[in-house]
């Protein structure tokens, strides 16, 4: 987990600050050549001083970055190729390099495989559900609800800023069987609700519901901003041409919303692929490992002290996230 956050942080890290410290602008190449001459003119000396100053200014960041982002990433990557156990932490380099063994072990581990299926289930159902809920709420806030708009906006966003621990307590009451609010409400319409968290078939749907409820607020806020940037004139023009509400939404709003949609999809997918908190507080991965997620399985391996294996698992998750993100960019890229 630490490996991942390190990795996701890294692409922006090393690239931006270093060039920013270097001389830039037109004529960059020639002045640098000039300054390389031993008897450089005053302009060259000024440039050199500037470069030095830039490096000095960038240094604190570089050191912090190298020590706290780059090094952990390198070490965890290295760890994933070794048989590091918890008791080796005192001497992190006196371990055996075992090549790709950890990776093959992770991929053949039945619990890790099961958790991969569970995570896919969670993302494939949970992400569309979250996006649809968020978009619906955003459209309603943008067009439909005019009174108490701020109250609704706050209400929908509140779950995002509420602590998962508090959310878990409330949801456990809601999902309780028998006697939970959800099953009581289902009972009113004659449905005998399932034992949500105790039944392996229903535990994942219950967590998906909870995650969608908890996360759609963020997506909603971003969609709302996107909706408000759709020019009203386009809607007017389309309306004059005879387009109905649904046609305008599909052919005017949606295309203009595509960059927003891409952003929301990518961030939601990254978050959902690292699905952890909900099973951790609600089910501990059970019953029958039906809510065990990839990150939870990895977390357990860290807990068992199998640091090498856990690091390999983290990198597998990282690769999956990278691939899923790349696919989304490809599917939703700007077609001009």
């Amino acid at each position: 987990m630490s490996a991942q956050t390190g990795m996701t942080g890294s692409p922006a890290g090393p690239v931006t600050p270093v060039p920013a410290g270097l001389p830039s602008g037109p004529g960059n190449g020639s002045t640098r050549q000039g300054s390389a001459r031993p008897s450089g003119g005053p302009a060259g000396r000024g440039r050199r001083a500037e470069t030095r100053a830039a490096w000095v200014l960038a240094l604190p960041f570089c050191i912090l970055f190298l020590a706290f982002t780059a090094w952990p990433v390198i070490q965890s990557f290295f760890m994933s190729f070794t048989d590091t156990k918890a008791k080796d932490l005192k001497h992190p380099f006196s371990v055996n390099v075992i090549g790709l063994d950890n990776y093959t072990k992770a991929l053949s581990d039945p619990i890790f495989r099961k958790s991969a299926v569970n995570t896919a289930y969670f993302v494939l159902i949970g992400m569309p559900l979250t996006l649809v809920m968020a978009l619906a709420a955003a459209v309603a806030l943008d067009k439909g609800i005019s009174r108490f708009r701020a109250v609704f906006r706050l209400g929908f966003y509140l779950p995002v800023i509420t602590s998962i621990v508090a959310v878990a307590v409330v949801w456990r009451f809601l999902l309780q069987d028998p006697g939970g609010l959800i099953n009581t409400a289902l009972g009113w319409v004659g449905i005998d609700g399932p034992n949500w968290l105790g039944d392996p078939k229903w535990s994942m749907p219950a967590l998906i519901m909870m995650a969608a409820w908890r996360n759609f607020g963020t997506a909603m806020i971003i969609f709302l901003a996107g909706l408000q940037s759709v020019p009203a004139e386009l809607h007017e023009a389309a309306a004059i041409d005879g387009a109905g509400v649904w046609q305008r939404f599909r052919n005017v709003t949606m295309p203009l919303l595509r960059p927003t949609l891409l952003f929301v999809m990518v961030t939601t997918a990254i978050g959902y692929l690292q699905f952890f908190e909900e099973p951790y507080v609600m089910t501990q991965g059970g019953p029958l490992n039906s809510t065990m997620s990839l990150t939870y399985a990895t977390f357990n391996q860290f807990g068992f002290g199998n640091y090498g294996l856990a690091a390999a698992m983290s990198y597998i998750i990282f690769v999956v996230i990278a691939i899923v993100t790349a696919v989304q960019f490809r599917l939703l890229r700007e077609r001009s």
Binding site: K87, P287, G303
Partner: protein, 426 residues
């Protein structure tokens, strides 16, 4: 260009570190050790001690007595929440910033001793003073590291009033009898479930093992060098455990948040197996007079007599301590029968020292005596550093056995295979 240079540099550095590593050859299975003798006289200097949970909060009060007896000594007790403790210990060991002594979870002994962090127990401490099963939890590879501080064990809790209705005065002393009684609770005393057994989830092995140990199961083989899960005794016990679920005596789909106490008080589940803390738990929920409506009984005997699970916490001194003598003196003091009895009144932690049970503070409670008797035969799991990982598989497989009716023999085979591939970590 610049990026290529960085990449090349990184790869070279990585390659260099790769070649520099490798385990040192001596992974020595050293012989059993005994710590050097501790000096006599008063303890002096400063000590830092870590303790978890309620113990961490109440311990400073107890230790005041020790400080009064040893005027040159100051003990600083740091309370640590249980859920953060394991990580904190491992980080401390890695950074060589351990306390002088600490309360240690019994299942961490293998890991901590394996990291060479603990000091072997000196010979002055009489190991036979403690309950045997508890003493075993301090032993890793034949060497004892520290002492058992307090213990807990699991016994059968039952509603004595409902048992009378079901036609039982007490819990039968054999496993078949227990099942009959649980069934009678359902048919004659109106209970929804006869016996509350954990169907799965973390720690469900602790409900299974009392039966297995009573049947004579041994979790190690080859002279304590390997795990042993697919033994006939384990199979017999797992089948017995499963039968409670297939016969509808125990609830397969118990709620995610346990409702043991309210269900016990309402008579919905009038029997369960748990530890001493449940006495205050059920009495609080049951209200006034509930004390007389329930009782406790030892685990019904199997072919090897009655046994149970022993848990609790140990006390250990760390190797890196600068004040070894004082640390061990504090440990010795905490193991004195009178101090253990006093600690029971402060914390309700059961004494690990056998003679402390003669203290009137403990003998006055009849229910407590059942725990004391059970402790004499109770057993602890092996102190291998991989135990937690291996037993997590047992939890998973046990859940399949209880909930989906999976074959116990196949389940144990899977656990054994996984245990063999993980190894004991010694």
């Amino acid at each position: 260009m610049r990026r290529t240079t960085i990449t090349v540099a990184c790869m070279t550095a990585a390659a260099l570190t790769m070649t520099a590593c490798g385990r040192s050859a001596d992974n020595g299975g050293a012989a059993a050790q005994t710590g050097a003798a501790v000096s006599t006289g008063a303890a002096k200097g400063n000590l830092t001690m870590w303790a978890m949970g309620a113990e961490g909060d109440k311990l400073p009060e107890l230790i005041k007595d020790f400080e009064t007896a040893n005027p040159g000594l100051t003990v600083k007790v740091t309370a640590i929440p249980w859920n953060a403790a394991h990580d904190k210990f491992m980080t401390a060991v890695t950074a060589n910033k351990t306390p002088d002594l600490a309360m240690v979870g019994t299942t961490w002994m293998g890991e901590l001793a394996g990291s060479d962090a603990l000091d072997p127990t000196p010979s002055q401490i009489d190991k036979s003073a403690f309950f045997d099963g508890a003493q075993k939890t301090t032993e890793v590879g034949g060497t004892s590291f520290g002492i058992p501080w307090y213990v807990e064990t699991r016994v059968v809790f039952y509603r004595s009033d409902l048992a009378k209705k079901a036609g039982f005065d007490t819990v039968p002393s054999d496993q078949a009898g227990l099942k009959e009684m649980a069934k009678a609770m359902q048919t004659k005393a109106g209970a929804k479930w006869g016996l509350g057994l954990q169907a799965g989830g973390t720690g469900s092995w602790q409900s299974l093992m009392p039966f297995a140990w009573s049947n004579g199961a041994d979790l190690t083989k080859d002279g304590g060098k390997a795990y042993n899960f697919d033994s006939p005794q384990m199979l017999e016990s797992m089948k017995y455990y499963q039968s409670y679920f297939t016969d509808g005596i125990s609830d397969k789909a118990a709620p995610a948040t346990p409702t043991t106490e309210p269900d016990f008080a309402s008579g919905k589940v009038p029997m369960f197996i748990s530890g001493p803390w449940e006495m205050s738990g059920v009495e609080k929920v049951g209200g006034a007079g509930f004390k007389d409506k329930y009782n406790v009984a030892p685990i019904p005997a199997g072919s090897a007599g009655s046994s149970s699970f022993v848990g609790g916490s140990n006390l250990a001194v760390f190797k890196s301590t600068q004040n070894r003598d004082a640390a061990w003196k504090l440990v010795q003091w905490l193991a004195q029968p009178d101090v253990q009895a006093k600690w029971y009144t402060m914390s309700t932690d059961l004494p690990s020292v056998k003679s402390a049970w003669q203290d009137p503070k403990l003998t006055s409670d009849k229910k407590l005596a059942v725990f004391g008797k059970q402790l004499e035969t109770a057993k602890a799991p092996p102190s291998f550093s991989t135990w937690e990982q291996v037993v997590a598989n047992l939890d998973t497989e046990l859940e399949k056995v209880t909930k989906t009716g999976a074959d116990p023999a196949a389940a144990l085979k899977t656990v054994q295979q996984q245990a063999d591939s993980v190894g004991t970590g010694q």
